[in-house]
C-alpha cells in the first residue's frame, strides 16, 4: 500500500488530491465508530486464455499493451480489486477502489480505480464527485467484476474500443418511478484519465474533457437504455515515434496534420436492451462511434447474448459484430504523406464477427467458474482490435479459448 502511495504521490496534483482523499477515508474508517458504517469488499478473477493465432495478439480492450497468442496466458483476464466504503451518515458516503490488472504499461501495478464522495440529498438523487467510473455504454463500469456477469469477459467486438475507465469530475443521477417501473437518468462530466498503448508508445488521454449521460427505463425484468457520450482529445497519437521505431519512417508534416487527434471530438451512441427473468437472460446492445479524427474510423458494433440457467450452471451463446466504415483515401500533396496516412488509417479498421458459447458454473457461494469459446471470423483488414499485428499473415480468423475463476469477498 505504501509503495502504491509513493507512486501516486510522484504524479500530478489531481492524483495527490485523490490519494489524500482516500487515505483520509482509510484513517477516518479506522477511527469510525464500530458498526455498519465502514465496509471493505473485494472482487477478483483468475483467468487463462489462448488463441489459435500468433499473427495478432488478443486483448480484453485497447488499454492493454500486449495480448494473448497461441500459448496460454493469465495476464489478459486476471484482476484483483479492493473497495472501501464509508457511510458517514445517511446522506454522505465515501468510496475508494484499488484495482490491479494488466494494463497499458505491461504491469499489474495497482491503481486507484475510483475515489469519490457521494451526496444523496434525497433517496432517489445521487451526486458524486472525485475519480469516477464512466458508464459510457451499459455495463461499462463493471467490466472487471467478472463475478457480476455471465461471460468470461465483456463481448470484445462491442467493448474493446473502450479503453476509458474513469474521469476526474462529477455525476448526477436521478430515479423517478413511472408507472410500475423506474425511469433513471444520469449525466457526467469530467476529464479523462489514462494512457492508451500504441506499439511501444503511449497515447496520453489524460485531461481530455468528457461529457455524457443516459436515460433508462426498468420494469420488472426488462431494462432499456439509451446513452450518449463524447470526448475531446487533448493530445495527438504518438505516431511519429511509433513510425520511426517500427517502420523507420519519419512522419511527414502533411500526414501528421491530416491524422491529428488533438482537439478533435469523438461521439459515442449506444442502445441497450436487457431481459432478465427467471432462469432466462438476454442482452442486446448496439453502438455507433463517430470519430472526429481522420486517424480512427467510425464504427458500428453490437452483440446479442442469451443464457439459460439450469441448476447451478448457466450455458450461454452469443454473437457480436463490429464494422468500421471506409475512410476516403487521403489526397495530400506528396506521395509519401499519402502512403503513411493510408497505412495509419488501415490500422484503425475493424470488420469481424464473433460467435461465442460457454457456461458459468456457480460452484460455491460467491465463486463462479467459467469456460468459453470465441470463434472470430473477420476480414484480414480487421486490425484495430488487436496488438502486434502481422499484416502479411493475419487472415482475420481465429478461435479463442478462455477459462476463469471469478469471486467476490
Amino acid at each position: 500500500m505504501s509503495g502504491l502511495g509513493n507512486r501516486i504521490c510522484r504524479r500530478g496534483g489531481w492524483q495527490r488530491l485523490v490519494l489524500l482523499l482516500s487515505s483520509g477515508l482509510f484513517c477516518a474508517a479506522a477511527l469510525a465508530a464500530p458498526g455498519d458504517s465502514f465496509t471493505l469488499q473485494g472482487f477478483g478473477t483468475l483467468g487463462a486464455v489462448r488463441t489459435t493465432s500468433d499473427h495478432v495478439e488478443f486483448v480484453r480492450d485497447l488499454s492493454q499493451a500486449r495480448g494473448a497468442t497461441d500459448a496460454w496466458t493469465g495476464k489478459t483476464d486476471s484482476a484483483l480489486g479492493l473497495q472501501a466504503n464509508w457511510q458517514v451518515n445517511p446522506q454522505w458516503q465515501a468510496v475508494a477502489q484499488v484495482l490491479s490488472r494488466y494494463r497499458f504499461d505491461r504491469t499489474f501495478h495497482p491503481e486507484l480505480a475510483w475515489a469519490f464522495v457521494k451526496f444523496e440529498p434525497s433517496p432517489n438523487l445521487s451526486l458524486r464527485a472525485g475519480r469516477l467510473g464512466t458508464e459510457f455504454f451499459m455495463l461499462a463500469d463493471s467490466r472487471w467484476v467478472g463475478y457480476s456477469f455471465l461471460t468470461v469477459r465483456p463481448p470484445g467486438d462491442y467493448f474493446w474500443h473502450l479503453p476509458f475507465y474513469s474521469i476526474h469530475g462529477a455525476d448526477a443521477s436521478l430515479a423517478v418511478p413511472l408507472g410500475e417501473g423506474v425511469m433513471r437518468g444520469k449525466v457526467f462530466y469530467g476529464q479523462s484519465r489514462g494512457n492508451i498503448p500504441l506499439a511501444d508508445e503511449q497515447w496520453d488521454i489524460r485531461r481530455s474533457p468528457m461529457l455524457g449521460g443516459y436515460l433508462e427505463y426498468q420494469l420488472g425484468g426488462l431494462q432499456l437504455r439509451g446513452s450518449y457520450a463524447n470526448i475531446r482529445f487533448r493530445n495527438d497519437l504518438p505516431l511519429a515515434p511509433v513510425l520511426a521505431k517500427e517502420n523507420n519512417i519519419a512522419l511527414p508534416a502533411a500526414a501528421a496534420q491530416y491524422l491529428k487527434t488533438r482537439d478533435t471530438r469523438t461521439h459515442y451512441y449506444s442502445l441497450g436492451l436487457v431481459y432478465d427473468k427467471g432462469p432466462f437472460q438476454a442482452q442486446l446492445m448496439l453502438n455507433h462511434i463517430d470519430q472526429g479524427t481522420r486517424a480512427l474510423s467510425d464504427s458500428n458494433a453490437g452483440y446479442l447474448l442469451l443464457g439459460y440457467r439450469i441448476g447451478k450452471v448457466t450455458p450461454f451463446v452469443g454473437y457480436s459484430r463490429v464494422r468500421s466504415s471506409e475512410r476516403p483515401k487521403p489526397s495530400l500533396g506528396d506521395p509519401l504523406s499519402n502512403l503513411v496516412a493510408a497505412y495509419v488509417i488501415e490500422d484503425s479498421h475493424s470488420d469481424q464477427k464473433t460467435i461465442f458459447a460457454g457456461a458459468r458454473w456457480d460452484v460455491a457461494r460467491n465463486v463462479a467458474l467459467k469456460a468459453q469459446w470465441d470463434g472470430i471470423r473477420g476480414d484480414s483488414s480487421s486490425l484495430f482490435p488487436y496488438r502486434r499485428d502481422d499484416r502479411a499473415r493475419w487472415d482475420g480468423r481465429m478461435d479463442v479459448f478462455s477459462v476463469s475463476l471469478d469471486f467476490v469477498f
Binding site: S126, S148, A175
Partner: protein, 142 residues
C-alpha cells in the same frame, strides 16, 4: 377407486408443499402509510431501483443472511432467480460505487423488529410472523 386414490394423493402432496413453502409476505412499518404494493414495486425497492415510497418516505429494505432458507425462497418467488444471481447483481452495484446491498439480518424475527423500528422499513417474513407492528403489503405467490 384409482381416481379416489389419486385425489387423496394430490391433496396430501399439495398440503406438504404448503408446509414446505410457508407463505412469505412483504411487510412495512405499520405507520409508513403504505397499504399495498404490486410485485414490480416490491422488485423496485428490493433491488434498489426506487428508494422512496409514494408518500416520499425513504424505503429502507432489509434482507436475510445468505444461509437463511427464506432468502432463497423469497428471490425465487419474486424474480425466479438463484441467490448466486442476486449476489452477482449486488456485486455490480457495489463495485461500480452505485449503492450498497440492504443490511442482512439472521432471522425473520429480527426483520420484524427492524421494520417496526424504522419508519421506512420493509422486509419479508413468514405470514405467521407478521403482527400489529407491521403491515402486510404484498403476498408472494408461486
Amino acid at each position: 377407486m384409482r381416481r379416489l386414490f389419486f385425489r387423496i394423493a394430490l391433496i396430501v402432496l399439495t398440503g406438504l408443499a404448503g408446509v414446505a413453502h410457508a407463505e412469505l409476505v412483504v411487510v412495512v412499518n405499520a405507520r409508513s402509510g403504505v397499504a399495498a404494493m404490486t410485485r414490480n414495486e416490491v422488485i423496485n425497492v428490493f433491488f434498489g431501483r426506487n428508494r422512496q415510497f409514494f408518500n416520499g418516505i425513504e424505503a429502507m429494505p432489509v434482507d436475510l443472511d445468505d444461509a437463511h432458507p427464506k432468502r432463497a425462497q423469497f428471490y425465487k418467488m419474486l424474480v425466479g432467480k438463484d441467490l448466486s444471481e442476486i449476489n452477482a447483481y449486488w456485486s455490480r452495484q457495489v463495485f461500480t460505487g452505485r449503492m450498497q446491498a440492504p443490511p442482512r439480518l439472521a432471522s425473520t424475527e429480527e426483520v420484524v423488529k427492524w421494520v417496526a423500528a424504522n419508519p421506512g422499513g420493509i422486509g419479508f417474513v413468514e405470514l405467521s410472523r407478521a403482527d400489529a407492528r407491521v403491515r402486510v403489503v404484498y403476498e408472494l405467490k408461486r
